[in-house]
């Protein structure tokens, strides 16, 4: 049995307030628990990880030191900002393995994540933490995490290196695909364009098509897919191309084509209010009614799904 609980579902920046009460204002953090042993894996350390840390202090610490793996989709701030407030890092005996991709030429993961804990930003320095923390740079790969948990990762399309995660456990598949937008040809295809280059135009089309096909394969047959849907298709086309986020429409289409059973629309725009998300969900459910078996939900802070 795989249990998935959402502690942060918002994109970009935490946005608490009266308009985000229902779906939640914390940034990305997802808790996974596997089997009887209750092994804990966390995806992302957005502001939601603060509450998860407090919950683990109550639920897990009394049973023994906290051990967990933290997988970061990427190192943009909304996905790492909660780390200094994750209480288990201050507890002697805690063991936290952090994994994530690092864009070339930046410093290592230890600096990128850990330097948030330096006096200029925070009252405690990384070197003063009591927990044992390891940092592991992650690539596109397949990993055996032990206890029957298999992990596959895939590079997504975001302004910095970003990984999607596919966990397989006891025949069930849980997949994340954020932050990402569809791969597209970045090279001009209009021969009139001054930067037009025929080879680049053709190669660009092919490369984008192949990457999208690989992505489709990556999410295929997932029992649960958590997909970026920061924008509507209209917003995306109007002014958000190249920002590294998807539309609701693209997420739904991808999930449907990939035979996904349940789709969670994730990484809500900070400007999106609860009533707007309600309306959008209703609209998309209505539009897809009778055309797909796909179950569609808006990611909601605090909800739990069992696979």
């Amino acid at each position: 049995m795989m249990k998935i609980r959402f502690w942060g579902v918002r994109g970009s920046i935490p946005c608490p307030g009266p308009t985000t009460v229902k779906y939640g204002g914390n940034t990305a953090c997802i808790e996974l628990r596997f089997g009887e042993a209750d092994r804990i894996i966390i995806i992302d350390a957005g502001s939601g990880i603060r509450s998860l840390g407090n919950y683990m202090m109550q639920k897990d610490l009394p049973k023994g030191p906290i051990k967990t793996d933290l997988f970061l989709s990427h190192t943009h701030w909304d996905h790492i900002m909660g780390f200094p407030f994750f209480t288990p890092i201050f507890i002697p005996g805690s063991k936290i393995n952090i994994y994530g991709p690092v864009t070339f030429e930046e410093e290592g993961l230890d600096k990128i994540i850990g330097d948030q804990l330096s006096y200029r930003y925070f009252p405690v320095k990384q070197s003063e933490l009591s927990a044992t923390i390891t940092y592991n740079q992650l690539r596109e790969c397949e990993m055996d995490l032990g206890d029957g948990i298999k992990l596959k990762t895939k590079y997504l399309n975001h302004p910095i290196l970003c990984l999607g995660y596919r966990f397989e456990y006891e025949g069930k598949v849980f997949c994340t695909a954020y932050d990402t937008e569809p791969f597209r040809n970045l090279f001009p295809t209009d021969p009139e364009d001054p930067s037009y280059d025929e080879i680049a135009a053709v190669e660009g089309e092919k490369a984008a098509e192949e990457e999208n096909r690989k992505f489709s394969q990556f999410i295929r047959d997932a029992d649960l897919l958590v997909h970026d849907s920061q924008y509507t298709h209209k917003e995306y086309l109007e002014s958000k191309l190249g920002w590294g986020h998807s539309s609701f429409e693209y997420a739904i289409n991808s999930a449907h084509k990939g035979y996904v059973k349940k789709l969670i629309l994730f990484h809500h725009d900070p400007l999106r209010t609860d009533p707007q998300l309600d309306t959008l969900l209703e609209e998309y459910r209505e539009k897809t009614k009778g055309k797909t078996d796909l179950e569609i939900e808006m990611a909601t802070e605090g909800t739990e799904i069992i696979l």
């Binding site: 864009t103 070339f104 030429e105 930046e106 690539r139 596109e140 790969c141 590079y155 399309n157 975001h158 302004p159 910095i160 290196l161 791969f183 597209r184 040809n185 970045l186 090279f187 001009p188 930067s195 280059d197 080879i199 680049a200 053709v202 190669e203 660009g204 092919k206 490369a207 984008a208 990457e211």
Partner: protein, 295 residues
Amino acid sequence: MESEQKIQKIKAYIDKMPSLPITVSKIMEICNDPRTSPADLNKVISVDPVLMGKVMKLINSAYYGISQEVTSLVRAIIMLGINTVKNLALSTAVLGTLGSSKEFQALNMEGFWRHSLCTGVTAKLIAKRRKADQKTLEEYFIAGLLHDLGKIPINNKLLDEYLLTMRLADRDHTPLYKMEKESLGFDHAEIGGMIVNTWKLSQDIYNSVVYHHNPLAYTGEDKDILYSVVMANYFANAFEMGFAGDRYPEKVDPEIGRYLGITLDHLEDLEDQVHQEIEKARIFLKLTTATGASK
């Protein structure tokens, strides 16, 4: 200095080989400009053999762990994003500031650059004429662009010896690679092979770098790219587009032309197109001298 010592000196240099000084300022400008388009980025990397080789190396390195070999820069930009590729290019360009045009004394830097670019462009146009798979055209270009890479470390680390080698080759009307072998104990094709191995570039690039003066010694199946580069190199020399030190190059074995189905007339037809492409690159890099023979 013994041949082995020279090789050691070159090996040490290859490990931190800088980009061509000629393109560095443009790379910095393009990569530091937030409005840079993928097309501009592609263009700036495509005109520098060292940068192109290094970026391809990094993309295919364990750093990214991509299981399928990425053989085109366009694909790399789409897969990894413009920012990642910008970072890769910048990191190489920063190394480039360690090199200076003073180092380019035996070889004329701009002449070398033109010769490399001309060979790349011509190899691509030959492939196009032969209706090679559109998807592979960039590989032809890269192989041509990089074919003389081995001359850079020799030029930069063994300057006096290389100047002498070039003078001897001129005096005796001997192809440069033969004189290199005679006076240095190795030639630029061998050194190029070392670079390609260090950077772990593709087999086709390796073949073009190592066998471009001795293509019939290559016994493998993938002759198309190698032979096209050989022909393109001959064209660049014969039509005096740029100059990479080889004043008396060998004639191409007729077998190469037969295999490719390409004659000298065909190559002549390409001249204008090649000039245009080099001219575009020259304007892009804001070089001052006009395209043409710089012999």
